[in-house]
Point group: C2
Chain length 229, copies 2
């Protein structure tokens, strides 16, 4: 392998207007928490509260909202409704965005189920599988197509997000095929890093690695305090 020149920018990539991966992730969490707020509660919220809910600091929350240009009122906090809308203005595509899922195994089906009750701004609208048995069926309101028709369906429907739940050996091939069809962002559940050009975005959902992380820290983290006020 060629030692020099990282053809693909390694590690993490940046966004256009300066919003980083972590900021987007936090904004997404903020929005969800705000949406789940009981409708009876105050129409405003403090950075402290949002911080506590999302498990970070008030300063962090304020800075995140600052970066999307949202401004609250001192002594009353942030308007919840408007804040939800403001985050939506950043996260959501105004025209909406659709996703395709490749690999209708156990995990694929579970994800289809997971995303059926989903905001109209971002829906999985098509699933694909090599197994001809599965084609034509509708799983959780989502039609399953033969994998061979994926490029055409993706192109016709203008799908831009791909969820990969195929076995590891097929993941790279499937991803390249999706990329060729116009998909730009990938959520990869296969336990193998994808190698795609820099104009594609890949989010690795590596369950195995996450599990090993948890196991490691479960062992090595400081034990429970016995005393403490």
């Amino acid at each position: 392998m060629n030692p020099k020149q990282p053809l693909n920018p390694p590690t993490q990539q940046r966004a256009l207007p300066g919003l980083t991966e972590k900021q987007i992730a936090r904004l997404s969490v903020y929005r969800r928490l705000l949406q789940e707020l009981p409708s009876a509660s105050r129409p405003e919220i403090y950075s402290h509260d949002l911080a506590e809910m999302s498990r970070n600091t008030a300063a962090q929350v304020r800075r995140d909202l600052m970066t999307i240009g949202f401004t609250g009122s001192s002594a009353r906090g942030y308007q919840v409704e408007q804040l939800i809308a403001a985050i939506g203005g950043t996260l959501d595509a105004p025209e909406g965005q659709t996703a395709a899922l490749c690999g209708v195994g156990n995990l694929g089906r579970a994800l289809l189920d997971y995303f059926t009750i989903w905001r109209p701004q971002l829906r999985i609208v098509a699933a694909f599988d090599i197994d001809p048995e599965k084609s034509g069926r509708v799983i959780h309101r989502c039609r399953v197509w033969p994998l061979a028709e994926m490029p055409q369906v993706v192109r016709e429907q203008g799908i831009t997000v791909g969820v990969i739940t195929v076995p590891a050996p097929s993941a790279q091939r499937v991803a390249e095929s999706m990329l060729g069809a116009g998909i730009r962002g990938f959520l990869n559940f296969a336990p193998t890093p994808l190698h795609l050009p820099a104009h594609a975005y890949v989010e690795e959902m590596d369950i195995t690695t996450s599990m090993e992380k948890v196991a490691y820290f479960a062992r090595t983290l400081a034990p429970a305090p016995v005393e403490e006020s």
Copy 2:
């Protein structure tokens, strides 16, 4: 909510011997990639190659291996077998470690399936669900117990890792219950941040947020280059 004093250390936590979350995650990926290497290939590997496979830089790989005290030979690289063992020495509990899964829905079942073919060092050995219908059954070689028996089973078997795949509203309650039973590390698939004391480790697997990240960057990433050599 109390503005001052972050009772739980917010954001990320550290490990005892100085290994960070990201380092553990990369080591886990390195090991998996090394294990999947065709047995016919060279018994050594260069940092450049491992970097290319794992999508980061050679310097990063070398530094990671340095932190676990593994040393390669110049001009020949790292001994693959020994490196796998060295990473195992860091990641794996010598006595092995077991996990429990709460919430045998679609996602729970998929994960049980995902982890059946799994290294003996880290296995899901018990599943729990509120639904009495599911109790007693064996799904993917893993017995399902009533949720009420979780504390006892966890304690008896010395389980230290918990996987949470219950609906969001139950997640916090289930997690606290698991923590009380002795579980120290959590893999949380519910779309709600868990609030646990500092001596617990929580890894959030927030599929919704990941999906929104992908959608965002699929839109805003620089478009494909048309030219370029």
